[in-house]
């Protein structure tokens, strides 16, 4: 267990989850939950639904072989799962209308995500009672670690259609209230860990010299749980300087900079669902 990787007790996680429950209103697309943000977003760009921008912190996987694709759970579980895509879709579904916040600057409202409630997965895999942390491992080398007590959903359908390749087809996770980047796309495996395993974010920023105390403070923060604004701003400032050439809030900003301006999505072998997928970028 690392000295700086922040850990939270179950009570703290549940309390921050409760703090995230915004008002439940009814929009023109159905019941909507809104999550209070830690600080007022300076002019949030609300994008149209069909222009939901897709950003990735790591380059997306180049190819996903759907013939060999399996959703696996392992680690501190008594019944490790290994499901194909069809078996995954046969599990009991849950759906919810959510707003998606990317990087705290871009807000798209009213996505209807359908998928599997994480509690179903927990019932199926039967993790050990002392297991507190999960690590989502994705294709492409990305990984995110979360507390097992958070409200999570594995999503494979959005607005009635399978999710776009640039948004994580065949499977993505939805963890409400957290920054968009902490919702992993192209999820492949879930590890139920003994203690919090460092994910991509912890290793990447730490190896580039980020202060562990600030990183720990930011990790403890959830959108809406009252994290110190200085911690978030420090993190975002550091983050943007590191990734400035990777992440663009304006999709057209990548043009002419030697960065991929086209498809930010993998190719799929053995699956024709998105054979004719084109992005407008």
């Amino acid at each position: 267990m690392s000295s700086w990787i922040p850990l939270q007790t179950e009570a703290e996680v549940l309390e921050s989850e409760r703090a995230k429950e915004g008002f439940v209103g009814v929009g023109d697309k159905g019941p909507t939950k809104r999550y209070p943000h830690a600080y007022p977003i300076p002019g949030p760009e609300t994008r149209a639904q069909r222009a939901w921008p897709a950003f990735t912190y790591v380059p997306p996987p180049a190819v996903i072989d759907m013939r060999k694709w399996r959703f696996e759970t392992y680690g501190l579980v008594n019944n490790p799962l290994s499901l194909t895509y069809e078996e995954l879709k046969a599990l009991p579904t849950a759906s919810s209308v959510e707003d998606h916040t990317c990087d705290d600057q871009i807000l798209t409202t009213g996505h209807r995500f359908e998928g599997i409630d994480f509690r179903t997965i927990i019932e199926l895999t039967q993790p050990d009672p002392d297991c507190e942390w999960i690590l989502f491992e994705c294709d492409g080398g990305h990984s995110v670690s979360h507390s097992i007590h958070k409200r999570m959903m594995l999503v494979y359908r959005r607005n009635g259609e399978p999710i776009d390749p640039s948004h994580g087809y065949p499977l993505r996770a939805w963890i409400p209230g957290d920054w968009g980047g902490l919702n992993p796309k192209w999820v492949r495996r879930i590890k139920f860990c003994e203690s919090r395993d460092p994910d991509f974010y912890m290793t990447y920023f730490r190896q580039h010299g980020a202060d562990p105390a600030i990183l720990a403070a930011v990790y403890k923060s959830h959108v809406g749980s009252g994290a110190p604004i200085e911690a978030i701003n420090h993190f975002l400032g550091f983050f943007y300087k590191t990734f400035w050439w990777d992440v663009r809030h304006n999709p057209m900003g990548a043009r002419g900079k030697g960065i991929a301006t086209g498809l930010r999505a993998p190719m799929y072998i053995g699956d024709d669902t998105w054979a004719n997928y084109k992005t407008c970028l």
Binding site: S3, Y74, L76, V77, K191, E194, M202
Partner: protein, 141 residues
Amino acid sequence: MIVDSDTTWHFACKLNQLPLGGMKHVRVFDTEVLLVRASKEDIVAMEPWCPHNWAPLVDGKFNPGSMKLTCCEHGMQIDIKDGEITRGPNGGPAGHYEKCFRFPVKVERDRIYVHLKTPQEVDAYYAQCGVPGILGSDALK
């Protein structure tokens, strides 16, 4: 990249998730590791990618009798007992490949733990390698 950690033995997976003669690509703390179960007691943890073209070794074939792992892409054979390359890609000679790295493994109750180097051990390893200098200065060592 090794993140600071207090312990060196990190949880990999449970013993019953690794069948006899089976392989599993597992994430241990911050490192990806291939666990191979050669026999009921012998578990080997090694780098999960082929030294030739970095094909994932979990897709290959493992022969528990001869303790040899065959890569799926070009057929390189790796002896898991010490990580030596016995047969090269596409049936050629083994060539000048380095031994595949193996991690120390220990089994406690029903869990598999893998030893990852602390930053101090990594520094000690690089210290003993020496620092490459300008052309010709290596001969002075």
